[in-house]
Structures are given as C-alpha cells and as structure tokens.
Point group: C2
C-alpha cells in the first residue's frame, strides 16, 4: 500500500474517531470527516464508497486487534495462552481495554447496531466451541445468550469509570450466567 494511501486512510480513521466522540454517527456528514481529516472530497470517495463502509472498516480495524493473539501490554501476558475459556475471555478484555478510547464512541448511538453486530460475529466464532449442550436449552439460544451477555458486559465496563480490572469483569460475567 502506497504511503500516501496509508496516510490518508489513517487521517480518515482518526478524524472519524474524533468526530464520534463529539457527535452522533448520523449527524456526522462526509463533509465533516473531510474537513476534520483535511483531505479532498474525491479523496474520501476514492477510499470509501459510503460513510457506512468507513464505519465497517474502522470496526474491522479494531477487532483485528482485539481478537488477535498478540500481547500488547506486560500485565496481561499470563492470559495470552488462554488454556481455559475464562483465560481467553480475560485476554479479550485486556485487548478491549487498550482500545477503549476508540470503542466508546462506537458503542453508543446509531452505529452501536453495526458495531455490536461485528463484535458478536467475532464472539460467536470464539465462544462456539465453549458452549456445551445443556439439557433442554437449544444450543444456538445458549450461544446467543453467552455472546450478548458478554457484549453487554463490555458495554457496561467501558461505559463506567472503568475501576474494574479485566479479571474482575470476567468474574462478574462467569458469575452471572448459568450456562457457562
């Protein structure tokens, strides 16, 4: 990828993230992004067909980090092997904490729908093997519940003052759901 393209793409992402922390998704116009990123109009459309595409690209960008195996900070190194499901969950929470600035704006408002759908797509893949068949309860229902409870846990965590550690949140999560 051309250095100019990388630079522009990055400028758009940064501008978009900054705007999302100031105003709501629908109220942000392409013009706003162009002004904030300080790029030409046609340049924006050369990169993204629509504002929605940009949102999706930003989500993909974030999730590629959040669900990566790599270890960023020192402190959560212990959970990176994630032998157990609980360790895996904790590992994801550490990654989310690192990206919390970018994520906060995405959770609320109208783009929450898109963001959540993407988040859940990833979570379905990760959680699937860990949800074991329960008596009477349909498997896909149990998976739905496990996934949406976890995304709700993330939302609650990031929305607050964030005085809780990833380990604590994993604890709350596992203490709330019977089916885990």
């Amino acid at each position: 990828m051309d250095r100019r393209q990388r630079k522009t793409r990055n400028a758009i992402f940064t501008a978009f993230s900054a705007l999302l922390s100031k105003k709501t998704y629908t109220s942000i116009t392409v013009q706003d992004i162009i002004d904030e990123a300080d790029i030409g109009r046609s340049t924006f459309y050369a990169h993204f067909e629509t504002k929605d595409e940009l949102l999706k690209a930003l989500c993909t960008d974030i999730f590629e980090h959040v669900f990566s195996e790599e270890v960023m900070s020192e402190e959560h190194h212990d959970f990176s092997h994630h032998s157990s499901f609980r360790d895996k969950v904790t590992h994801i929470l550490y990654h989310l904490k690192e990206k919390q600035q970018d994520i906060r704006g995405l959770f609320s408002g109208e783009c929450g729908e898109v963001f959540l759908r993407y988040l859940k797509e990833y979570l379905y893949r990760v959680f699937d093997e860990h949800i074991t068949a329960e008596d009477n309860i349909p498997h896909d229902y149990a998976l739905d519940i496990a996934v949406s409870c976890f995304s709700e846990t993330i939302r609650w965590w990031l929305k607050g003052q964030n005085g809780y550690t990833p380990e604590q949140m994993a604890g709350y999560y596992f203490d709330s759901i019977k089916i885990l």
Copy 2:
C-alpha cells in the same frame, strides 16, 4: 383526536410497518411512506417531524400494549395476575407474541438500536425490583445483564419459526441466568 387525524396516523403506521418488513429502515424514505400510506407530503410532516419521530411513536405504541396489564387472548389469562416475577415475564411474552408481526421488522437493521433502547427502558422499570443484591456483583450490572438477556431471548424467539411457547421461553430465560 379528530377522526381524520386518527385515520392518517394509522395509515402512516401501517405503511411504515409494511415497509419495514420489505426493506431496511434507512433505505425507507419519507416519500416511500407517503406513497405507501397514500397521503399528501405536508400531511406527513403535520404528524411527524422526522422519520425518527415516527419510529419512536411506533415503538411507544407497541410497548404501551406489551407492557399493559390487560389480557388480550384467553390462554394467557392465568399469568395476568403475575404474582411472581416469572409470571410477569410470561405475561410480557404473551403480549409480545400478539404483536410479533409489527415487532419483527423493528428488531433487525438500523432501527434495532432505537427499538432495543425503548424496550430496555421498559424492562429496566419492570425488572428493577426483582433483581436482588448479589454478593460482589454490582446491582446495576446484574440489572443490565437481566434486561439484555431478556431482550436477546425475545429477539431469538421472534427470529425463529416460533415453535416455542411463552412458558418455554420463560423457562429457557430463567435457566440461563444465575442472578435471577
């Protein structure tokens, strides 16, 4: 309220619901609603300032029924007294089933965000007194989990072929969550 107003308002609601089952919220234009409802342009704006206001009004309309005490069908008469929390939940599920045609379109797509926020507002009020303090788990977190798991239960239920009864769904719900 003038009979003409009632008629128009109803035509708009019906048209909007019909459109929602065909296409997505953002792709629906005011013009689409006007055409479908067969009303004049200025008439629409006399009733609703924006498409979002219409969506909110429709949600309010539906929830006023869903969370009402009244009993519609015969079969769920037994749950209308809702002495226990479980009975109350079952009662709500019966009401949701009656409105399922209107609700399906609202759950998916971009208006899902708005619909869910409204749904959860009601659920918070209903559930609050039934979520008792647990050891270690913050009360508002427990409430969040209870509410979002229930709305996910509803989503899962209405999305499927709906071969499950309200009683069964209440059962699944209570069997999934520890904190109830």
